[in-house]
Symmetry: C2
Subunit: 292 residues, 2 copies
Amino acid sequence: MRDFSQNIDWLSINTATIRKQHGQEVALNTLLDQCAAAGIRAVSPWRDQVAAIGLQATAAQLRAHGMSLSGYCRGGFYPAADKVGLQAALDDNRRAIDEAKTLNSACLVMVVGALPGALEGKPHYKDIGRARQEVVDGLAASLEYAREVGMPLAIEPLHPMQAADRACINTLEHALDICDALDPEATGALGVALDVYHVWWDPKLAQQIARAGAKRLLAYHVCDWLTPTADLLQDRGMMGEGVIELKKIRQWVEAAGFAGYSEVEIFSQRNWWQRSGDDTLQACKQAHQAVV
Amino acid sequence: MRDFSQNIDWLSINTATIRKQHGQEVALNTLLDQCAAAGIRAVSPWRDQVAAIGLQATAAQLRAHGMSLSGYCRGGFYPAADKVGLQAALDDNRRAIDEAKTLNSACLVMVVGALPGALEGKPHYKDIGRARQEVVDGLAASLEYAREVGMPLAIEPLHPMQAADRACINTLEHALDICDALDPEATGALGVALDVYHVWWDPKLAQQIARAGAKRLLAYHVCDWLTPTADLLQDRGMMGEGVIELKKIRQWVEAAGFAGYSEVEIFSQRNWWQRSGDDTLQACKQAHQAVV
């Protein structure tokens, strides 16, 4: 396993981690400057943040800072109430792939979606099997275009507590089954973004990480699971604050051949988003060296 | 599939569903009288509720009402910080088995426990593999005694969002793997309590229900998953209020041979626990006949 204790060479910051500072939204150009000042050499920004300051401006700023993208957040959200919605999702994913390519991202992270309307509290249907089929069909269509332009798609299995509203792919095993169906040769065009927050509980985690291998492990996200957890979405902990066995999981991931960034992605309404960006970045760096 | 639309013969009430009324705790003897008045013929009470009014008094009241127990809540919580704690858990489970026997329960529901201390926000260790081994060892010991007295143990896989603090068995597949290891003959002494709230999201649910079969399906719990869900523990919905495909899952369960009660177990701090017991019981009866 790589030694992370001496430097932050393999630390990436998902910009959601510092998108709120002192409780206020901060623009991406400021976040990127803060990351650069902290010596961070890779980030993973969100589409809405990029749109707010402009795609070309983002690309130029990343070049100026010599910063890589460990991933781009995010494509997906395929299931829809009707054909018009399904087509709109395909079109939007095509744009996301183009943006990821412009930003030279390592991959496009796919949060695949679930019951359409559920995120707004009004699910159009309850058939999760239908949602899963719409996801597979959507991924197949996006993959075709992603292969053309050379942008790997990384399916992110989300925690089962988000199965209704955000992603109906909820285990690494299920994500890999879909990868095997759509990309049986394991070309590197389709794989997974493994976020410890979503998968740490899984009794088959070690087995499925080994199954995934280097060709499928496209991104690795860290944070921690707090006890108690106050909110299903925005109460993640800094690495070391919770119960996830971070070194054990990274050992499995690296044994399977992953050698990329360890990307910190923390949504924390009650704690980290109330602090300064500098405080949070310092904590990320320390935790990365000590406990990841 | 059985027709539930004409009566409530197969409706059971987990007493947690009405344990709070107008926001206040209500004693079990009152709850049992309310259930009897509502024509309910089976319940599943909790140990603390029974202890508060006395085991023999509970048994007598159940006999007077001619009420069955679809289950008894609950054994488990095996993992502990040290040997003294592990032994205390075994002793306590032995008492739970005796109580379940005295109450003539169909099974003892096992919420197996997870990282010791996590429920109090102070996990003694983070090794979920160790917790899982302590669970298997504990279940093996309890099973020996449960076989002697003839009380089936029903492992309840809990939702993965409760893996840290309440139960480190989080999928039906994992629960059945343990059943197969400890009771390879499928004698009926060890099985599962299947609660739709915990397992509805699982892409392998249909497959694993078929695997379980009648010998392992010892209890069936219903409620619903709300969108949004405001709390990890106490924000369950009444059947029909959420996104769980109740009829589809019951079809799978009955096709596998289950022919027992459909037990309503709802923890609802913001809604059902703020109502009267009669209101909640009426809603359970209507939902049972209409959507379960």
